[in-house]
């Protein structure tokens, strides 16, 4: 519940008067509490123990009158404060209250004065609640009947009278044990009342309030706020018989929340989104900690991870690329903010990926040693948990009486993703939509995501959680797709002048690393810089310093069949594993630091275009290289400096229009074996023919028998 801007009209008098009273108190004026100076009121007074004590006396005298659970003892007072605070919390009018802090600020001091750890704890907790809530309603009520200061309006005198009765019965918090003892009983002696343990009470109150403060699903209004509005409205308007029109009042209040009141005299200034954006960006420009003088300056002048974005932007501008200078500056400030928030070792502005609704600013960072991301581990654990769940399901199925034929299809083995700080996951990427918005970290990329990203072409919408609907289906949402494209672009277009990076001296042999080549490099301290003209003339002067991504989706090749062997031990389908055991060839890509001249051509044109930034004055020009394969990827080099940047839509160049692949043909449900094939029934002729044949066979058999019998008889006769 944010505070609306200060209401020009005078807020309800009681709070203001209360506040003004507090203000006046703050200024040290003598507090002349009028007679109904209830302890609640008294406690609003700033540190002034004398006043306190006097009020305590007042309290005691008032106790019997009002029937409150008053008392001179700290516990009683504390009771009251609790009660008051709870009352305050139970609904209140949301008034624009720049002075809202007052009661809260005053009270802690007050309570501390009283001493007693319990009291302070209790009070502290109460105060927190009070601070959180906007609860002027009951303060209003209390102050209404408490004060008789001259600046009260007449209507609130009315409140005073009415609320006296009202307040005697008091708002009953369900869990408030002290309230169960009705203070309106005569002769109620609160002195015998025992205060329950503050902890469960606190908890109950907090729970109740938290529950009430839940915002509704359909809008950003919470029940608490709505009730506050409703009750304020009722109290302001004082309709006859409010209970009967409660329903319509409820509806009207809800309607009014969403329809701002149109003032006929003056329009409220529009809250334009541009103002909000400017507000957010203002935070960028403020220095942290308010400036502690020279110390901070010195720290900052020392090496920071923040890149010199402005210098890069200047050089790129010479080349005709890049964002405008104030946008570059804002990006610079945003990167600085990122470096302050995260434990970052190196940081670089990777580029900007444009989207349909919003764009992404991408920063490439690497964390300091040892600052490993805990998120990764959590994600992995979840995945493993998911896999474990699948096994029992299959077993259940098998226990059915009818054995369901198992599908023949086996998913291809999952290729494990690369470790952090290596290969495609060498750097971490943070994105934000605009400078000033918070930076979001992108998850690591998996090989299957890269493989799928190669097959689809979707524009980015600007929302990280947007689904990527495509065929073949992409495993992940827009954040994953974005990360995959970033990985592809980095691997393809990050180049540097020859000699800037070199391999370390302690690298192992190529054979040891499986023939994949070396995968790390370091800066060459002796790099002298290549003349710009040479950089422009020949592509051999530039090298890739990002590892090439193999068709598998990784930079270092992993044999997927090795995993199958592990599964064999655990799983049951040993036979089927053999089917996949074909010779899988190792995929090899060009090694690190290969020059650009080795890049494959697209359609008879070179994948890179070089330019001098200014042909009129070549001595001060900058060499610019533009990628033809990934439109939007640029690199510049001048002297010892170079930089890569990408500003574009995140797609590869294709001379043809993009055609998504067609869906696969429908799989066969079962193999066509003769036992399943339906035999055709014999026709009538066939049946008759068969019958005739059978009869003939019978007849022939009978004749043979007769012959045999005759033969036998003849034999016998002889």
């Amino acid at each position: 519940m944010g505070d609306p801007p200060p209401d020009p009209e005078p807020p309800s008098q009681p709070p203001s008067s209360r506040r003004s009273s507090q203000v006046s108190q703050r200024r040290g004026l003598e507090l002349s509490r009028p007679q109904p100076a209830f302890p609640e009121e008294a406690e609003q007074i700033p540190l002034d123990t004398s006043i306190l004590q006097s009020n305590r006396g007042v309290l005691a005298s008032q106790a019997n009158l009002q029937g409150w659970s008053l008392g001179a003892s700290p516990t009683q007072q504390e009771n009251l404060t609790m009660f008051q605070a709870e009352e305050a919390q139970l609904g209140g009018v949301e008034y624009p209250s720049p002075n809202m802090g007052f009661p809260s600020e005053l009270q802690p001091q007050l309570y501390l004065e009283e001493g007693g750890t319990q009291a302070t704890q209790n009070a502290g907790l109460m105060l927190q609640q009070l601070q959180r809530g906007q609860s002027n309603l009951f303060q209003q009520l209390e102050s209404a009947y408490l004060e008789t200061q001259p600046d009260l309006l007449g209507q609130f005198n009315m409140y005073q009278r009415d609320d006296l009765q009202f307040s005697q019965h008091g708002p009953y918090l369900r869990d408030e044990p002290t309230l169960q003892f009705s203070p309106s009983e005569p002769g109620f002696t609160p002195f015998t009342l025992e205060v329950p343990e503050p902890e469960p009470l606190e908890l109950a109150v907090q729970n109740a309030k938290a529950y009430l403060l839940q915002t509704s699903v359909s809008c950003s209004l919470s029940l608490y706020e709505h009730l506050v509005n409703l009750l304020t409205k009722i109290l302001n308007q004082r309709p006859e018989d409010p209970l009967s029109i409660l329903e319509s009042l409820n509806r009207t209040t809800q309607w009014q929340w969403f329809h701002p009141k149109l003032d006929t005299l003056r329009d409220d200034p529009e809250m334009q989104p541009t103002y909000e954006m400017a507000d957010r960006q203002k935070a960028l420009f403020l220095r942290n900690g308010g400036g502690e003088g020279q110390q901070e300056m010195e720290e900052e002048v020392a090496e920071t991870a923040v890149p010199n974005v402005m210098e890069t932007a200047f050089y790129l501008e010479q080349a005709g690329v890049g964002l405008s200078s104030d946008e570059s500056f804002r990006i610079f400030m945003a990167l600085k903010q990122l470096v302050e928030q995260q434990p970052i070792h190196t940081c670089r502005f990777w580029g900007k990926i444009l989207g349909l609704s919003r764009s992404y600013l991408v920063a490439e960072v690497s964390f300091r040693e040892g600052e490993e991301e805990g998120e990764e581990e959590e994600a992995e654990e979840m995945m493993e948990g998911g896999e474990g769940m699948d096994a029992p399901d299959e077993e259940d199925e098998e226990k059915d009486t009818d054995i369901i034929p198992k599908p023949m299809w086996k998913p291809p083995p999952v290729i494990p993703r690369e470790e952090s700080r290596s290969g495609t996951n060498k750097y971490l990427y943070f994105v934000c939509n605009e400078p000033g918005r918070p930076w979001t970290r992108l998850p690591h990329v998996t090989p299957v995501q890269i493989v799928q990203a190669r097959k689809i072409k979707k524009f980015f919408t600007g929302f990280l959680d947007a689904p990527v609907v495509s065929y073949p289906p992409f495993p992940g949402n827009e954040a994953n797709y974005l990360r995959a494209q970033i990985a592809r672009i980095s691997a393809a277009t990050h180049i540097s002048p020859l000699g800037f990076y070199q391999f370390g001296e302690e690298e192992g042999d190529e054979e040891e690393e499986g023939g994949a080549g070396r995968d790390s490099y370091e800066e060459n301290p002796d790099f002298e810089g290549i003349p710009v003209l040479e950089l422009v003339d020949s592509m051999a002067n530039w090298v890739h310093h990002a590892q090439h991504i193999l068709p598998q989706g990784r930079c270092t090749w992993v044999n997927p069949l090795q995993k199958i062997e592990e599964e064999e031990e655990l799983g049951e389908e040993e036979e089927k594993a053999d089917e996949g055991m074909e010779g899988v060839e190792q995929e090899v890509g060009p090694p690190l630091l290969t020059p650009l001249s080795e890049d494959a051509e697209i359609m008879h044109m070179s994948p890179w275009t070089t330019r001098l930034s200014c042909s009129l004055c070549p001595q001060y020009s900058v060499a610019v290289v533009r990628s033809n394969l990934w439109p939007g990827a640029y690199a510049y080099a001048s002297g010892k400096k170079f930089e890569n940047i990408y500003i574009g839509w995140g797609h590869k160049y294709s001379p043809e229009n993009f055609n998504p692949p067609l869906p696969a043909p429908v799989q066969q449900e079962y193999p066509n074996s003769p036992e399943i094939l339906e035999m055709s029934d014999p026709t009538v002729e066939e049946e008759q023919a068969l019958k005739a044949a059978q009869e003939q066979a019978l007849a022939a058999a009978e004749e043979e028998e007769d012959d045999e019998e005759e033969d036998e008889e003849e034999d016998l006769d002889d």
């Binding site: 444009l354 600007g462 042909s615 439109p631 590869k652 001379p655 043809e656 229009n657």
Partner: protein
């Protein structure tokens, strides 16, 4: 108050034209904004390119020369990453003035840039009084010397539709395309393979024309039509309000209307004939290709 905004294009992702990039400056009327259109795959595809436009920073002041408006427009359009280096900017400012003087145009606008392998083309257009009349297109390789391009014709479009790939950057370059042609020779029909030479200039002309027809847009109210026919810039146009700027219906295609006559009488009753004489963007297909976004001070849409 030139609030009319010409679209311009930024990258052609995979389009045969390479990376066409155009920025439009405004003529004597103030710059309203620059639209940078981003080309998408395939110039010849029915799917057109996306536009990136920043327009909300409409300048209200009357600017008399292209010079000032050009610089401002370039700043505004920088969101897509394309810009001009300082030397190009400076040379553009001077040379465009000279073009205006020599060819006696009413206004000369910088249309943009088409990227090629060897060199880039910078394109400018000259306008006469009537805004919708066919514009003269000029190109230059170094922003200093401008040459006139022939107007686009249907045959050119058909001829160049077979060429794919990037622009070379050399205007005299000829693309070779082999096709089968039926040749009648004395009663017999032969099919021969004929190699057709297509000049890059022709291709340039047709590309520019296609881009203009597809993605040139103008906010509603920037131009108005007089009863006599010619279309003038509306000097009282102060820009679109925030809510209007977000709607696609407040933008028109800057070309002869095609769909207007198909509207029903009921729809036409709501239109104002002096302002609504062009096709609105609302009914374009596919719908998603024009989406409105906002970023800090600017509304851009792509």
């Amino acid at each position: 108050m030139g609030a009319s905004v010409r679209p311009s294009f930024s990258e052609g992702l995979g389009g045969e034209q390479g990376w066409p990039k155009a920025l439009r400056g405004r003529g004597p009327q103030a710059v309203s904004g620059i639209l940078t259109a981003l080309g998408r795959a395939g110039l010849w595809s029915p799917r057109r390119q996306l536009l990136l436009a920043t327009w909300q920073a409409l300048s209200r002041a009357l600017v008399t020369m292209d010079a000032e408006s050009l610089l401002l427009s370039l700043e505004l359009a920088s969101g897509s990453g394309q810009g001009l280096s300082p030397d190009r900017r400076a040379s553009l400012l001077t040379s465009l003035l000279l073009v205006k003087r020599d060819y006696r145009y009413d206004r000369v606008l910088f249309w943009g840039r088409i990227l090629g392998l060897v060199a880039d083309y910078y394109i400018a257009q000259g306008l006469s009084e009537d805004q919708l009349a066919p514009r003269k297109t000029l190109y230059s390789l170094n922003c200093m010397e401008w040459s006139l391009l022939p107007p686009a014709t249907e045959e050119m479009m058909a001829q160049t539709s077979v060429v794919k790939g990037r622009f070379m950057g050399d205007p005299s370059h000829e693309y070779e395309h082999t096709e089968l042609q039926k040749i009648n020779e004395g009663g017999k029909v032969f099919e021969e393979e004929v190699v057709v030479q297509i000049k890059e200039e022709t291709r340039l002309v047709s590309i520019i024309d296609q881009i203009d027809k597809a993605v040139a847009i103008i906010p509603r109210g920037a131009l108005f039509k007089t009863p006599f026919g010619p279309i003038h810039v509306n000097r009282t146009f102060e820009g679109l309000s925030l809510s209007e700027a977000k709607k696609l219906s407040s933008y028109f295609h800057f070309r002869e209307p095609v769909q207007l006559k198909n509207k029903t009488l009921l729809e036409k009753a709501d239109l104002d004939p002096s302002l609504d004489f062009m096709d609105s963007l609302e009914h374009d297909i596919p719908k998603e290709r024009k989406s409105l976004g906002a970023s800090s001070d600017f509304h851009y849409w792509s």
